[in-house]
Amino acid sequence: MPQEYRLILKNADLPGYTPDIDCYLRHGGYETLRKCLALPVRELPDGKKQTAQEQIRDEVLKSGLRGRGGAGFSAGLKWSFVDRKSGKPIYLICNADESEPGTFKDRQIIHKDPHQLVEGMIIACFANDVHLAYIYIRGEMPEGARLLNKALRAAREQGFLGKNILGTGFDLEIHVHRGAGAYICGEETGLIESLEGKRPYPRIKPPYFPAVLGLYLCPTIVNNVETLAAVRHIMAMGAMEYSKLGTPNNTGTRIVSLSGHVKRPGYFEIEVGKVTLGELIFHENFGGGLRDGRRLKAVIPGGSSAKIFKAGEKFKLKRKGPDGQMATVEVDLLDLPYDFDSLQQAGSMSGSGAIIVMDDSTDIVGALANISEFYAHESCGQCTPCREGALWMSKALHRMAHGRARRADPDYLLSIAQNIQGRTICAFGEAASWPVLSFVRKFREEFDARGAADESKAATATGRTPAAK
């Protein structure tokens, strides 16, 4: 029976569990940090010696942990790119700018169990020789910022932060920085610019890869809240045990934010790939199905920028068969395992882990108009295709949603979107264009019908025959 596997949120919803440090300590808090700081130098079979820091980095790499922010990149590899020879300080930033529409997982950690994030951060900082770290929290989450500041203060009082942590000689300070309310601040280089006090314009890469030229042009690690919390658990249970959770190349747990037309919207922590999209929507342990009398129309599987799935879609996935050979299998939408690789092979992504369910009451043109308006509003406007294209698509969709659609509009929209994706400074270009590309391609008939209806209505009103198309 598919069910939650609570690792990060193990304690969060326990009766009487509070976000203060005493409660955390009673539940074994900061024991993992003590263990990590005290790791003895290890001798490898080849005679090389491995410091405590190297051991932690190695563990995180071996755990297979993939970034929980959206891109799903290996956290251990990301750490390995850090320029450790530049002579400059290395910074670590926790990206708590959770802004992707449909996503509400990081705030569960921050609001209910912030100390495991702090502990994960201290371990990550220790492993990467970081002595100054920041939590960049979304401006719309003042309560989260208050709780984090309180948690940092408590950790400092207990000697987990500050100078000479737990007598090991390791120094670390963590500051909370509140954003001012812009989606683009979740893009890591936009975040870095914002943290530097500038307009959050994402940086061009090359040359500004954060691992080399990040905050204040120093090597910088930017990790998501959930990723850093997972580091604490990887070090608590060991990479071997952690990587047994989930499925190969999609290890561990992740918190899924389920919203839309389901009976039980909410957050669910699952082993990655052990639960299918269908189970998440319909099983009583998760979404509990659609509202009575409704049928599934579409699912956005990874936050509003992920490409939409249409009910009934089938996908060809590459799977390792029982004989160990790769084989192509056909998988129904509802049977897609909720993991990084399957969703990518199905042409979308698990993104931030936000599943938005739409039933047959949904006006697909209106839904896309809503999403596009968000991206038009949040485009930072730095580079041309996204700045002009995002608003262009939004205006066209607004027009379509308000009775002035044209037969030409579906192709018009596709063409605008194609001129954005892959041509912008940051991935916002994709975020703005993918919903349009996927909605129009998969629900083409609805867009076409809208155009035909509005044109003939207009023709009747003006007494003109619509031009043949």
Binding site: A182, R199, Y201, I204, P206, P207, A376, H377, E378, S379, C380, G381, Q382, C383, T384, P385, R387, E388, G389, A390, L391, W392, K395, A396, R399, R406, Y412, Q418, N419, Q421, G422, R423, T424, I425, E430
Partner: protein, 574 residues
């Protein structure tokens, strides 16, 4: 030399080591490293490689002397890199050539992907396709995006004719638009500062103006407000954009967003005749292009010269041209009658009168004041005349405020020309008290003043009345010309040819932009006549010949040739 600044970075040579790449199918070896905007060697970019291959990559935000922004996306270029096998060796085609993997979108392998040429370094074996169908499609799309919200008000836009939106529209644009939505409206006629007006609707948000004033001038006054398509360039709230370099942003602006209050709505740029010249406002000698039509100057714009002013000039110098067209310009040769009245005369009569007087003058009774605003050739001729008649000579120093960028404290454009030709000694102006005293006591009875007002230079006006002969060669009337026995109307430097030697010893040639009014002649022309009349050798009668004569006589100019000065000059040691 002053220390290099971001404003005027050092001139760095590209690396000797080269990389072979292909541009549009042609092999080319390009330097591995090339100077960036600060003159630091950085890996050569795709854009630089294409430039070296003679292929233009269109762009708005990129400028060789500004930090790279990469925001306009106009320079997106499709490219390919050699494929590597699992053994990390290049994969070869059947004919032995390396197999190239064309860049594609990672999530859509059938779709070509471009890279911004301005910021993407080249690598060995890379192939660049700046003319491919995919590259052209990307450009057309960017251009379309830039135009959908643009007001398309070219007929009334000052930039029309030198606008990158127009130029690239010709090359990469569409004749029609498919945009059927409502355009974004933004502020118009924004009074950004004392010299700049901004039209935000025309702006393409390339941020050149912001980067220039922030990173080069150090005046972080401009920024962007709002977001997305509503992004708007603005000055920091409550402040004015008013440093002495603001007008450079008008030149940098690739479109008609930033306009000069001085120039806007004055003249269509395609009517302007462009003449290379030099700014004469201080001793820096910024290279300029003079824009004129029908003998009226309409604007000065900086002309690139990395040894002098880079791409820039100060606002004060740029706007210092209106006096050339003043209505009270000296336009008549005048000779004072015995009645005491000045009467219009001719060059022959006037110069003959001066020569006759000088031939009779005793050594030591003649003084020549030669302005350091005259050309080197004219100063040389005055020196020749001075030696011939045994005159005391000097020039008038002009000191003022300098800055760390381009403005020099020496406000004369050619004091080094006066030094080189021997018109002044080590200390310009040191002879002036002696000359003024000589005029007062009557020891000096003849004064030739060229380009300087003696009264302003400290000589009491009543002393001038005692002179037997006061010759004033000048451009505008002043207290000296009013008292002169002979008035010789001269030319502004924009009305003649010649050279200035700037504060760093740069010998810079300038050309004639406009005609002088009335009788006015270039000083060097009539000084040659005067020199001959005083028994000098017949000599040359054109500027080239005069320059070569001077180069033979003046040690620091030895070996220089007029034609080799080019339009950016040659540096000598003063």
């Amino acid at each position: 030399m002053s220390t290099p600044t971001p404003f005027l970075p050092p001139q760095t040579a590209p690396s000797a080591e080269t990389i072979r790449v292909k541009v549009d199918g042609r092999d080319i070896d390009v330097p591995k490293m090339m100077p960036d905007w600060q003159g630091k060697l950085q890996p050569t970019t795709m854009l630089q490689a294409c430039q070296l291959a003679g292929v233009e990559v269109p762009h708005y935000c990129y400028h060789s002397k500004l930090p790279v922004a990469g925001n306009c996306r106009m320079c997106l270029v499709e490219f390919g890199t050699p494929m590597m096998g699992p053994d990390r060796k290049p994969v070869l085609n059947e004919d032995g050539t390396p197999k190239i993997a064309r860049s594609v979108l990672p999530y859509e392998p059938g779709t070509p992907r471009g890279a911004i040429a301005c910021a993407t370094p080249i690598s060995p074996g890379m192939e660049l396709y700046p003319s491919s169908a995919a590259t052209r499609q990307m450009r057309e799309a960017v251009l379309e995006s830039l135009l959908i919200n643009h007001p398309l008000d070219c007929p009334i836009c000052d930039q029309a004719g030198e606008c990158k939106l127009q130029e690239y529209s010709v090359q990469h644009g569409q004749a029609t638009t498919r945009f059927v939505e409502t355009k974004v409206h933004k502020p118009k006629v924004v009074d950004l500062g004392p010299r700049i007006v901004l039209d935000d609707e025309r702006c393409v948000l390339c941020t050149r103006c912001i980067r220039f004033t922030r990173d080069l001038v150090g005046d972080d006054k401009l920024g962007i407000v709002n977001r997305g398509s509503y992004n708007t360039i603005a000055a920091f709230p409550g402040t004015r954009f008013e440093n002495n370099y603001t007008l450079n942003t008008v030149d940098l602006c690739p479109v008609g967003a930033l306009t000069s209050k001085d120039f806007r709505f004055q003249m269509r740029v395609w009517f302007l005749k462009e003449t290379p010249s030099i700014c004469a406002t201080c001793a820096t000698g910024c290279n300029v292009t003079v824009g004129s039509r029908e003998e009226v100057i309409h604007r000065l714009t900086p002309r690139e010269n990395d040894a002098v002013n880079g791409h820039w000039m100060c606002d004060h110098g740029r706007l210092n041209y209106r006096w050339v067209g003043r209505s009270d310009r000296l336009a008549e040769v005048q000779v004072r009658l015995s009645s005491g009245d000045l009467q219009r005369s001719s060059w022959t009569v006037a110069l003959d009168r001066v020569a006759q007087h000088l031939r009779k003058a005793t050594a030591g009774s003649v003084a020549i004041i030669a302005s350091a605003r005259l050309t080197t050739e004219e100063l040389f001729l005055l020196r020749q005349i001075g030696v011939r008649v045994g005159a005391i000579m000097d020039s008038v120093p002009r000191r003022g405020e300098g800055d760390a960028y381009l403005v020099h404290a020496d406000k004369n454009p050619n004091m080094n020309g006066a030094r080189a030709t021997g018109v002044v000694g080590a200390e310009p102006g040191s002879q002036l008290p002696r000359i003024i005293e000589g005029i007062r006591t009557g020891a000096i009875r003849t004064v030739l003043a060229f380009g300087e007002d003696l009264v302003k230079a400290g000589c009491p006006a009543e002393s001038l009345g005692r002179l037997e002969m006061l010759v004033a060669g000048d451009i505008l009337p002043n207290a000296t010309t009013a008292r002169a026995h002979v008035v010789l109307p001269g030319c502004a430097h924009l009305e003649k040819r010649g050279t200035f030697i700037n504060a760093k010893g740069r010998v810079q040639r300038f050309r004639k932009a406009v005609e002088a009014p009335g009788d006015a002649r270039p000083e060097w022309e009539y000084l040659l006549d005067l020199h001959r009349a005083l028994g000098g050798p017949s000599g040359p009668d054109n500027i080239e010949g005069l320059f070569h004569w001077m180069a033979r006589e003046v040690p620091v100019l030895a070996g220089l040739e007029w034609s080799r000065l080019g339009d950016t000059g040659v540096t000598v040691t003063i």
